[in-house]
Structure formats: C-alpha cells, structure tokens
Amino acid sequence: MLSIRDFAVSFRTRRGEVQAVRGISLDLGSGETLGIVGESGSGKSVTSYALMRILDAGGRIRAGSAVFEGRDLAQAAERDMQAVRGREISMIFQNPRAALNPIRKVGHQLEDVLRRHGRATRANARAKAIEALEAVRIRDAAARYDAYPFELSGGMCQRIVFAIALACGPRLLIADEPTTGLDITTQKAVMDLVRDLTRARGMSSILITHDLGLAAEYSDRLAVMKDGQIVETGPAAVLFADPQHPYTRKLVDATPRRGAGLRDLLPLEARTPLADHLPGDRALVQVRDLVKTYWGKSGPVHAVKGISFTIREGQSVGLVGESGCGKSTTSSMLVRLLDRTSGDILFEGFDIAAIPADRFVRDKRRSQIQMVFQDATDSLNPRHSARQTIADPILRMSGLRGTALQTRIEELATLCGLPLSLLDRFPHQLSGGQKARVGIARAIALDPKFLILDEPTAALDVSIQAVVLNLLADLRARLGMTYLFVSHDLNVVRLLCDHVIVMQGGEIVEQGPAAKVMDTPSHPYTRTLLAAAPEPPTTKMKTTDIAAKSAAE
C-alpha cells in the first residue's frame, strides 16, 4: 500500500545543502508493521516527516516518489495533503506531553481533528471524542475529556496522542520514537496497545526507533538505516541470526541481550579479553535504614522509605527501578549532594551521612566518591574545554600543577579513549560518545574508590553505548573501583553488574546476585519489569566466532 522509490530529502543550512536522506526504497504491505531502525543522524525520522510533508522550512524532497494507495505523496498539493494527514496517514511522536497543546483540553483537541475530517458535527463531537478515548482503553473517558495535558501522566498523554491519531480511521500509522522517555512498563503498555489496535483495524504501521530490541519485538520486518540510506531489510529473526551488512551486524552485536557478554557487544576485532575482577570481602559502603522525606505542596513526599544494603569492595552493583522509585534520590545521598532525613551511610566504616552536604566539599573523602552523570551535554560546562573540565577536580583537590597537571590530564584522556587532539574542544564541538568519555575522565581523575554511574549511557546511541560500557568495565578492572550503576535498563545492568537492587516506591523490593534476580526473580514487581523489557531475538553465532571463543578459553 506504500511504495517508496529513490526517495531523497535535503535541508538548506548555513553551510550549504545537507543530504538527510539519500535515495531510499521501501515497500509496505497492507496490515504489515515495518520497523525502521537507526542511530541518530540516520535520517529515519526525516523520512517520516517528509512522507507526511511536514518538514521544517529548510527541508525539501529532492527526488523520488512515495506512492500511497495510488497517489504520489511527494508530488501532492498541500491541500490534498491536508486531507491525507490525520485521515489516511497518522503520526504519533516522542515526548507525548509536549505533543499536546498545553492550554487546551484534550477532549477539545480530539474534537478539532474529528470535525476537521468530517467525522463529527458540533452536536455529536463530544460524544465522538469520548468514544475515541475509550477506543484506546482509557478508563473514565468522560472525566479525562476535560483534562489538560499537564494533569496527566506521560503514558496517558501518549494514549491521547494515539487516540487523536486513530480518531479518523487512518490506513497507516507512523510512530516516531513513541516510547522514548517512558518507563519500561509504560512503554510495554503503550506498544501493546498500538499493536493490538492496529492489528484489529487492519492498519499498516511504521515504527521508527533506535531500540533494536523494541523494533524486533513489535515489527514484522525491519529496515536498517545509516547516513540516509537503507543498508539492509528483512524479518527481525533473520536480521539478528544472520546479518548481511557490516553495519547491521555492528548494531545487532551492540544490542544488549540475554546470553551476550560485554565483549560480545563490540565488533569482532575489538574483543580483547575482559580482565576478571573479583569483588573482595570487605564492605566498602553500608547503607542502614536510609530515609528521605521532602516537603511538597500537598504534604510530605516519602522519596526513600528506609532502605538498607551493602556494597563490597570491587563489586559492581546495579540499582534498578522506574521513575519515581527513589533511585536518583538514593544516589544523590550516597554521593553527598543531598542530605538524608535519617539513617546511616557508612563509607569504609565511617558515617559520611553525618557530615552535611555543604561541608562534605572540604572533606578528605570527597575525592573518593565520585559520579558519572546521565546526560553528558548537561554535565559538561559549556564554557570549559575538555581539558579544563578534566582539570577542575585535580586543581581543586590535589596539588598537581603545570606540566604534571597536563601529563595527568593526557593520561586520563588516553585511559578513556579520548584522542588528545580533542582536549581543547568545547562540549558543543564533541560527539555524544566523546562527551561521555570526558565525563568519565573527570570522575576518575583523582582515583576514586567508589563511582556512582547515573544512567551514563541512556542518551547514547547503541553502538557508542557498547563502547562506553566496555570502557567502564575495563576501567573498573584496571583501577580497582567499586561501582553503583543506576539504570532503568535491565539488559544493560545484567551485563555490567554482579549484584542487583530493585527499588519501587522508595523501598527495596528485591536484592541479590544479578544472575539470580534476573533469571529467577522472587518479587512480582521484578517479574513485571523483566517481562516488560523487550527481548531481542537470539543471535546465532557464526562459526568463526565460535572458533575464536574456544581459542581464547
């Protein structure tokens, strides 16, 4: 029903014309779900915007055709496109709350679309809108009708955006990264809903995502894009088992999945042996009955309700949970940026929670407990070059100056795989992976014993994530650090951690060795989390890989 041929899109920028999509060809059958997968800059979202003809002012379709049920969308007039959008082809986006008009009731927004495409009159618009809400399984639809987007959760907002998309009975749904920013359980609920409703109505859909596992689970076929071109297409199982194109292989390898170790994420040539690092017996960090209560506008908020756990020297502990579970609050308290309400935090036997956060800056233990932040863009000072960023902790907490300082900085950069020529660049001149390395170099500058990693790879492309995770493992082995790895991504935690703590609603619901918790969870919430995580199809290892593996052993 959709046939794209030699489709090319370009953007006019200050530096000339940029080719975002360089001639792609695709076919989509009736009732089929196609997943378009790629990393940032691959042109996958641009393709969908161009198809709907909602590109920004500087973008245009340079060449090619996109024939939808007999009509070439690339050539259609704007007036005809307005009839197509929302009625025959619909789209849902990422960041659902921002996708809705903040000062207009959601019910009215639905009505606008229904009335525009002649599906409702002024008289029955409200009833039809409520019907549309019920179609996406929203309970209490009549009450939700009068709500504003800021009053609703992210998952609910995405359902409403979906309701708007389905309201006029389109034949094709395009979903552009619909689950980015949502919790895993919400993600599963939304994707299941999308799949159920599109199947029930016999709709085709295009799922655009960077998450290969998600795409594999919810699509019939996949198309892999890189640099504006499609490198490979095929059913998910085939692509995973036997990828033809080297880029596909790289992506498939880099996707964290059951049965794959850290090194398996990397391309074959980079798979140097992983140094073993056995945790010691001594307890490095002991948390006892930690509590944190905030005073919110409508009463006290119990962010952390009394948790206890121990981290041994050399261990890599994963702290898992969805948003609002208290894991970020816990890590802030552990790194002493936040004061606790009650409870102890023992570091090498000494209660560091007793020292207020403001004074901990001058404590000699400050350099021993460090943190790698989630969003490297936010965690690097835009005015400081990479060199200055890495130098800061050394200048503040050690006596190194002059040549010795520069040597140390270069040492750290090399350790983290950052080319020395990039040291004088500013954050906006660095790529995502490079910025992550700068953040890591800064954190390990003073040889900390305990490193807290707050979702350090969440914002990175999957292939860069593979590299950074391996870097973190290597550093830990080399420098003998202890890790607390905070994440919502269970597959990543499985790779890097030997011990796991699961949090929900401010409490620890389960903790134990990673293999045990992941494979045989005892708490129902852990089971729900594990069930919600998308499971990529198994990769069949090539014979050459098997040979290399047995040679290494």
Binding site: A57, F93, N101, I103, R116, Y148, S298
Partner: protein
Amino acid sequence: MAGRTRAIGMRLAQTVPVIIGVIVISFILTRALPGDPAVYFAGAMADAESIQQVREALGLDKPLVMQFFLYVSDLAQGDLGRSISTGQPVLTDLAARLPASLELTLSALVLSCLIAIPLGVLAAVRQGSWVDHLCRVLVTAGVSLPTFFTGILLVYVFYYLLGWAPSPLGRLDFIYFEPPRVTGFYLIDSLIAGDPETFAATLRQLTLPTITLALFTLAPIARMTRAAMLQALSSDYIRTARAAGLSRGKILFSYGLRNALLPVVTTLGMVFSFVLGANVLVEKVFAWPGIGSYAVEALVASDYAAVQGFVLAMALLFVTLNLIIDLSYALIDPRIGFDTK
C-alpha cells in the same frame, strides 16, 4: 481548582508588601526634597516665628517616624495634602487631570496593539520575508527613538511644514468648549453629549500625541509577539496538529496565537510602565493637561505635596494594573497554580 485559587490568593497577598513599600518610598523621596516647605507655605514676607508656626501646623517639626504615621493616616482618609501652586487638595487636582492622561495612554496602547500584534504574527509566519525585516527594523528603530524627539519631529513635519495637524496646545482648540464631564474622556463625553464637532476636534488634537506614544510602545509589543509566535509555532504540539491534518488557519490562531498571547499579555505590564513614564515627556511636548505635566510643574515649584501625590498615584495605578494583568493571565492559562509533573 484549589491550586488556582491559592495562586490567585498568593498573588493578591503579594500586593500588600509592595503597596507598603511604595508608600514608604514615596514618603522618603519627598521628605528629602530640597527646600523647606514651611518657608514656602508661610509666604515671602514671613519671619522666623511665623515660619515656625507653619512648621508646627504642618507637623514638620515632629520626628520622621511620627510624620510617617500621620502621613499614612491622612492617606487612609484620602488626604494627599494641598498643592502650593493651585491651592487645591492634591487628590482633586490629580482626579481632574487623570482622565486626560488616561485617554492619551489608552488610545496609544490600543493603536499600537492594533498594529504591532498583526505585524508580529505576520513576521513570525513569514520569516525572512520583507515583512519580517520591516518588523525587525521597526522594532530596533522604535526602541531607539526618544519619545520627546519623535514628538517634536512630528510637530515640525505635520504642523509646521505640512499644516495637517493642529497646533500642539492641549486637548482641545480654544474655540471649542469642553463637553459636559461624565467620564473625563473627551472622546466619550462628546459622543454622550451628541456633539460630533467637538468629537472631531478632540480626535484631531489627539492624533499626533497618540502616534508619538504609539510609536514608542509598538516596538516591545511587536518584538514579543514575533518571538512568542515563533516559539509557539516551533513547538511539538504544532507538529502534532499539522500531522493530524488541521487547517492552516486553525493551527495559526487556535493553537499558535492563543498560546503566544500569554507572554504578550505579560509584556503589556512592562510596556505600561514605560508608557506611563513616556507620558510625562509627551505631555510636555504637546502641552497636554494631564498628570505628567502636573508633576513637572510641581517639581519646578518645589510643590512637595503635589509631587508626592503624583508619584504615589502613579505607583498605585501601576500596581493595580499589574495585578489585573496577572489575574487575567491566571484565568487564561490553566497551568497556573498547578504543580507540573
């Protein structure tokens, strides 16, 4: 809803310390004025003894704190003192002259909104076109123009050179009589009295000063409308609306402009602050009998009660206006008072 009522209540409560601060500052300002008021009140021929009597009568010999409390209690009764120059209670003077200033200010604001808002919208929608450039030039020029200079230039060109505008001597040419006073606004009063000639005459006199003031307020309103519109149009929800096939008009007005007007409304408060100040200058150029020229004359004559009354009146007027603007913003924007997730 409770959150909203709370937010409104808090906003009202915030006004109280501000009003107190305003009263304190205007008291301090005028006590620091040069010259001994007692000397002026006593007259040129007075000797030291009668000056002292006058001083006691006015309460100027008491400690400053006592004077302040006396001042506040007078205020509560609506007594702003008596003007030296006119001999009238200051409140009466101000009340008599306020409509003239308001008529001028409001006309200018309405005129500039009528031009600036559509201009800002057009500039945002047609980015890079000649409308956009015109808007940017107008904005930069408008912000750079000194109001008194524009007024003078306009008088020179349109009165002296072209003879189109009447002479800048106040609200009404002396051959016309004031319409019977209902609101104090000549435009409205002349219509109520059924006197189209006076109406036309008022309009003629009003034109140049209104244009002068409007040029001044045009710039910030157009700039804010353009910026807010650009911001709104590049938002995610506009993309959703486009993808859902909504018509251009619907997207532009119901989704874009409505959201963009919110910051514009807040800007109006700031614009009003500038305009009340520019009012003083324009009234001097056009000999407009409003409270601005009243204040200037009072300053020259060291008429401290009048100056104090003027500063206080302007500040209270402005506080009330900001309150109205903030409250109407709270009513338009459903997000106010809510803890966003």
